[in-house]
Structures are given as structure tokens and as C-alpha cells.
């Protein structure tokens, strides 16, 4: 339903042109979940913002970028070509693709009730009257597990608890009936028990509504619970992808291996935590060659710091961008 090819995003800044996302391609199928994993600064949020054309004014998509989306009515929409003020863009936002954010408190406006913001969205996309919109909103709040929805609908965001707000946020994003949901770290700000509830809820809603979903997180544990496919991002490129179970069982890229090792385990309480060493470089100081070579434990001097690795497919259905899995001369052939 969503096909992203060669997505590159550049920003004009005072330090010159920076390109925090380079040549990212992925697909989302109806009813399936793609997990986008990476540290802060890996470009995963910017990538999803580009899908809804929510990037700030100093950002631009490269000429090779193609983002196509099949709308609910069957039409193909070329998202990368839509003009900023086009009606079709407003229909896409909310009506076709819904988005939920990490901070439910900050993503609601504090000065309107939950119901006001839901009904606004419903009326924009479904063109129905006030009363009908209210009924739909109450129904949606009930669906996300909010008790007394017909009273809660008139509450302000600050009158709700954190988990409740995140449920309301999901209800808001789904109120116009999108076919694709982008969830940008929706559980990161919640405590663990509520996090599990919200994940369950999202999985159930996805099954009931048959939505495609892009789930962004830095937590591979969360990905394991919700995503069918996973794409690991580092400095604006996808370094590894595949079916979630396969990637978690046998990670190919040293970065994915590092991320998995960094998850604290209850079985190894006495061991020290093993973080991925170093920090993610700033996009202004992008390393030459493989972007990860500055932190890579298996770095091959003379290759990784000079040549950018190709995407290769060591196993069917998997791909990885790493010189450990390609031979230098052969380019695309598997190691």
C-alpha cells in the first residue's frame, strides 16, 4: 500500500546542506507492521514525517525520491509530487495516513477538549454533522478502552492520566479511519505496564481495522512484540532488514547485534550492561565509507572507512549493508 523508493531528505542549514536521510526504501503492506528501529538521530522520525509531507520549510526531497501510496478508493497517490496546499494532501493527512506521537500531552492542544479535536478531524474527513461526529468519537474512545467515553469526551487533555491520554491520542489518530498508521515511539513515554497495554491495544486495533502500520522505536524488545518486518536505521540509511523474528534471532549487521546485546536481561543481572560504544555522529560529520565504521567492533581498515557498502541479501528475505557480508570486488553478490 505504501512504497518508498530512494527517499533522501536534505536540510538547508547555517552549516550548509545536510542530508540526514539517504536512499531509504521500504514497503508497507495492508494489515502488516513495519518496525523502524534506530537510535535518536538515525532519521527514523524525519523519514515518517516525509511520508506525510510534514517536513519544515528548509527541507527538501531529492529528485530520485518516489513515495507512492494506494488510497482507500484505489487511486495511486504520488506523495512526493503533491503541492503543499493541495486538497489531496489534506485528505491524505489523517484520512488516509494517521499519526501518533511519543508525547500524548504535547500532541493534544491543551486548550480544546479531546472531543473537540476528535470531532474536528472526523468532520474534516467524513463531512458529517456535529452530532454524528460526536457519536463516532464516543465510539472510537470506547474502542480504545476508555471508560465512560461519553463523559471523557468533554475532558481536557490535562484531566487525563498518561496512559489514558495515549489511548485518546490513538483514538484521535484513528477517528478519520486511516488505512495506514504511523506510530512514532508511542510507548516510550509510558511506564512498562501501561506500555504493554497500549501495545496490545494497537495490535488488536490493527487486526480489527486491517490497517498497515509503521512503528518507530529504539526498543528492539517492543519491535519483537508488534512488528512483522523490521528495518534498522543508522545515520539515515537502512543497514539491515528482514522478518522481525529472523533479524532478532540472527542479526547480521554489527549495529543490530550491538543493539540486541544492549538490551538488559534478567538472566544476566551480574554482568555489566553492554551498550553500543560511542555516540551516533552528527549528520554534518557523516563518516566516509560505511557510516557505522567509527563504532563498529568488526571494522575492516582500508575497506569500511573508504567504500560505502551495498545492500546485499545473504539469505532470502533478508538484506544487510555491511562489508562483512559482501565481497569488495563483487559488489552485490552475497558473501
Amino acid at each position: 500500500m505504501l512504497n518508498v523508493e530512494n527517499l533522501s531528505i536534505s536540510f538547508r542549514t547555517d552549516e550548509g546542506l545536510i542530508t540526514p536521510v539517504q536512499g531509504v526504501s521500504f514497503k508497507v503492506e495492508p494489515g502488516k507492521t513495519l518496525g523502524l528501529v534506530g537510535e535518536s538521530g538515525s532519521g527514523k522520525s524525519i523519514t515518517t514525517k516525509a511520508l506525510m509531507r510534514l517536513l519544515p520549510g528548509n527541507a527538501s526531497l531529492s529528485g530520485e525520491t518516489r513515495i507512492t501510496y494506494s488510497a482507500k478508493d484505489g487511486n495511486e497517490v504520488e506523495i512526493h509530487k503533491i503541492k503543499p496546499n493541495a486538497r489531496s494532501l489534506r485528505q491524505l493527512r489523517g484520512g488516509e495516513i494517521g499519526m501518533i506521537f511519543q508525547e500524548p500531552m504535547a500532541s493534544f492542544s491543551p486548550v480544546y477538549t479531546i472531543g473537540n479535536q476528535m470531532m474536528e478531524t472526523i468532520r474534516l474527513h467524513r463531512g458529517c454533522g456535529k452530532r454524528e461526529a460526536r457519536e463516532l468519537a464516543v465510539e472510537m474512545l470506547e474502542k480504545v478502552g476508555i471508560s465512560n467515553p461519553s463523559e471523557r469526551i468533554d475532558q481536557y487533555p490535562h484531566e487525563m492520566s498518561g496512559g489514558m491520554r495515549q489511548r485518546a491520542m490513538i483514538a484521535l489518530a484513528l477517528s478519520a479511519g486511516p488505512a495506514l498508521l504511523i506510530a512514532d515511539e508511542p510507548t516510550t513515554a509510558l511506564d512498562v505496564t501501561i506500555q504493554a497495554q497500549v501495545l496490545d491495544l494497537m495490535r488488536d486495533l490493527q487486526r480489527d481495522l486491517g490497517m498497515g502500520m509503521i512503528f518507530i522505536t529504539h526498543d528492539l524488545g517492543v519491535i519483537a512484540q508488534i512488528a512483522d518486518e523490521v528495518a534498522v536505521m543508522y545515520l539515515g540509511t537502512i543497514v539491515e532488514r528482514g522478518a522481525t523474528r529472523d533479524v532478532i534471532r540472527s542479526p547480521k549487521h554489527p549495529y543490530t547485534q550491538g543493539l540486541l546485546k544492549a538490551i538488559p536481561s534478567l538472566d544476566t543481572l551480574h554482568d555489566r550492561l553492554s551498550p553500543v560504544p560511542g555516540d551516533i555522529p552528527s549528520p554534518t560529520e557523516r563518516p566516509t565509507g560505511c557510516p557505522f565504521h567509527t563504532r563498529c567492533p568488526d571494522f575492516i581498515s582500508g575497506i569500511c572507512d573508504i567504500n560505502t557498502p551495498f545492500e546485499v541479501s545473504p539469505v532470502a528475505g533478508r538484506s544487510v549493508r555491511c562489508w562483512l557480508h559482501s565481497d569488495v570486488q563483487g559488489g552485490r553478490s552475497a558473501a
Binding site: M52, L54, N85, R90, Q91, L92, R93, G94, G95, G98, M99, F101, E103, A106, S107, F108, S109, P110, V111, Y112, Q117, E120, T121, L124, H125, Y156, H158, L172, A173, A176
Partner: protein, 330 residues
């Protein structure tokens, strides 16, 4: 909202009562009173020797011999019960007659200036924030600094010159000569409006410059909020989005300083009025103080502070309407 309004209203009434006491005390502070001043005026240079008893007689004539507390209650009782602001000694008539029209004209200038200030600065500030970094934004910033740097009286002179040269506007006054003493009519109001815009533009000038910067700064902050991106991601059209989400909160610091703006306009009014030849209250207030004509001074001070207190009440209600968290937190 009703409860909140009532609370604020009661608060306003209490503030006004306290303010009236303070105003009365301020009226009493200058040494001497109108009885001294009257005796001096009447008999100085006539060779008549004035005794303490004569002054005391004048004082009792004017009702100034009673104790202060009693006089306060007489005064405030007259105002509240009969709209009677007391005697304007120097004019030998009532304060209401002296102040009357001038009060309305001053109020008219203030309101026109306020409306003009907000009608320009709020939309322009929003526009500048949305187009931040554009050449238009820089142009507006330069205008703002110019507006803040230019003294009012100079601006008044320049405006007066061009208004007269280009539009043939009358110089001076708020009313044309033939309407000066005419009863109020539609034609007179129209004549007033034709005269009012000039002082209003002069008085609004620096406030517009200042409030554009305020609006631009807060609007820029609000535009970066996640709630704005979230609303955009739900397909809310841009124009509606700007007004409903960021602008409603960005306007907050402007609304909360309405009272200050009223005060500032009144302080700047006398100089502008002097240049433009307007009659207004500020000038009268100064004169009343020099003459120790206490009830005139008191009435003007009271009116002014009441306007400010009332505007603060209005701004409280507006703020609560703009941001419901204020009401709930109160």
C-alpha cells in the same frame, strides 16, 4: 465560567474600593487645600488682610473642614449613588460638567488606539512568525525598531504635516469648529472619527511596533509545538490551523497586558494632545493638581484607574476563555 466571572467581578469591585481610598489619600497629600488657594487668589494684591478665621470660613463653605473619613464617604457615596463627582472649585461648577465630554473623548481615543494596535499587530505578528526569515519579516523588524525609537511628539508633528498636506485634514482638535458645541448626532460622530484616527495612529505606533515583536516571538514558539504538527497531520487546513492552535495561545501575553497598554496610552496622551491641540483629561489633571482642585483631580484619577481595573477584568475573562486551564486552576 459563571463562577469564575463572579469571582473576578467581586475581585474587581474590591480592587476598585481600595483604589478609591488610595486616590482620595493621594488627593489629600499635597500640602494645603483649595481654601488656601482660593483665599490667595481672591485677596492677594488687594491689600485686604486675610485671617486664619477667614480661610476657615471658606473651608467650611467648601465643606473641606469635615474630617477626612467623613469627606471620603460623602465623596464616594455621591459617585456611587448619584454619579456626582463633587465640586470643581476652580470652575465653580460640578466636576461632571468639567470632565464630561473630555472624559468621553479621552475614552474614545484610548479605545480607538487599543483597537488599532491589536488589529494591526496581531495579524502582522502572526504573518511575520509564519514567514520567519523572509525579507518581509526582516522589513517588519526594522519597522518595529523604528517605531520604538521614534518619539511620539515628533511622529505627531510629521503626521500632522502630511495629513494636512495630503488629505487637507484640520489641524488640531477632535471636532470641527461647527460641531464643537453642537449636540451629539451621527454627523458629529463621523466628524469625530475623521479627527480621531490621527492621534490614534500616533499613539498606536510604538505599541504596534512592540506588540508585533511580542506576537511574532510567542507565535514562533507556538508554531514549533507538537500539537500544531499533530493537527497538521490530521489534515486541518493551514489557515484554520494557525488560528485555532498556535494563535489562540500566542495571543496570551498581549491579552494579559491590555491594562498596561491603557495606562501607557494615558501617559503618552498629554504630549501628543499638546502637539495635536486636543483637549483631553491628562492636561486637565495636571492643571487640577496645580490648583489643588482636588475633586477634579480625584475624578480623573478614579476614572483612569477604573478603566485600567476594568480592562484587567476583561483581560482576565478573555484569558480564561482563551485557555481553559486558567479557569480550572483558579
Amino acid at each position: 465560567m459563571l463562577r469564575f466571572t463572579l469571582e473576578r467581578f467581586v475581585g474587581m469591585v474590591i480592587t476598585m474600593a481600595l483604589v478609591s481610598v488610595m486616590v482620595f489619600i493621594i488627593m489629600e497629600i499635597p500640602p494645603g487645600d483649595y481654601a488656601d488657594r482660593y483665599a490667595f487668589r481672591k485677596f492677594s494684591g488687594t491689600g485686604v488682610s486675610v485671617t486664619e478665621a477667614d480661610i476657615e470660613a471658606i473651608r467650611s463653605d467648601l465643606g473641606l473642614d469635615k474630617p477626612m473619613v467623613l469627606r471620603y464617604f460623602d465623596w464616594i457615596g455621591g459617585i456611587v449613588l448619584h454619579g456626582d463627582f463633587g465640586q470643581a472649585f476652580a470652575f465653580e461648577t460640578s466636576v461632571v460638567k468639567v470632565i464630561g465630554d473630555k472624559a468621553w473623548l479621552t475614552l474614545g481615543i484610548m479605545l480607538t488606539t487599543l483597537i488599532l494596535t491589536y488589529a494591526i499587530s496581531i495579524p502582522v505578528g502572526i504573518y511575520a512568525a509564519v514567514k520567519r526569515g523572509s525579507s518581509l519579516d526582516y522589513g517588519l523588524t526594522i519597522f518595529s525598531y523604528l517605531g520604538l525609537a521614534l518619539p511620539n511628539f515628533l511622529l505627531a508633528l510629521i503626521m500632522l504635516y502630511f495629513a494636512n498636506k495630503w488629505f487637507g485634514a484640520d489641524i488640531g482638535g477632535l471636532l470641527s469648529a461647527r460641531y464643537q458645541d453642537a449636540p451629539w448626532s451621527l454627523a458629529k460622530v463621523w466628524d469625530l472619527i475623521k479627527h480621531l484616527w490621527l492621534p490614534a495612529v500616533v499613539l498606536a505606533w510604538s505599541a504596534v511596533a512592540y506588540q508585533i515583536q511580542t506576537m511574532r516571538a510567542t507565535m514562533s514558539d507556538e508554531l514549533n509545538r507538537l500539537s500544531v504538527t499533530a493537527a497538521r497531520a490530521r489534515g486541518v487546513p493551514e489557515g484554520k490551523l494557525l488560528l485555532k492552535y498556535p494563535a489562540r495561545l500566542a495571543i496570551n501575553p498581549i491579552v494579559s497586558t491590555i491594562g498596561f497598554d491603557v495606562n501607557r496610552i494615558f501617559s503618552e496622551l498629554p504630549i501628543v494632545a499638546a502637539v495635536l491641540g486636543l483637549t483631553e483629561l491628562g492636561e486637565l489633571l495636571l492643571k487640577a493638581y496645580l490648583d489643588l482642585d482636588m475633586y477634579v483631580a480625584g475624578a480623573i484619577l478614579l476614572l483612569l484607574t477604573f478603566i485600567i481595573v476594568f480592562m484587567n477584568f476583561v483581560s482576565d475573562l478573555l484569558l480564561a476563555w482563551l485557555d481553559p486551564r486558567i479557569k480550572l486552576g483558579a
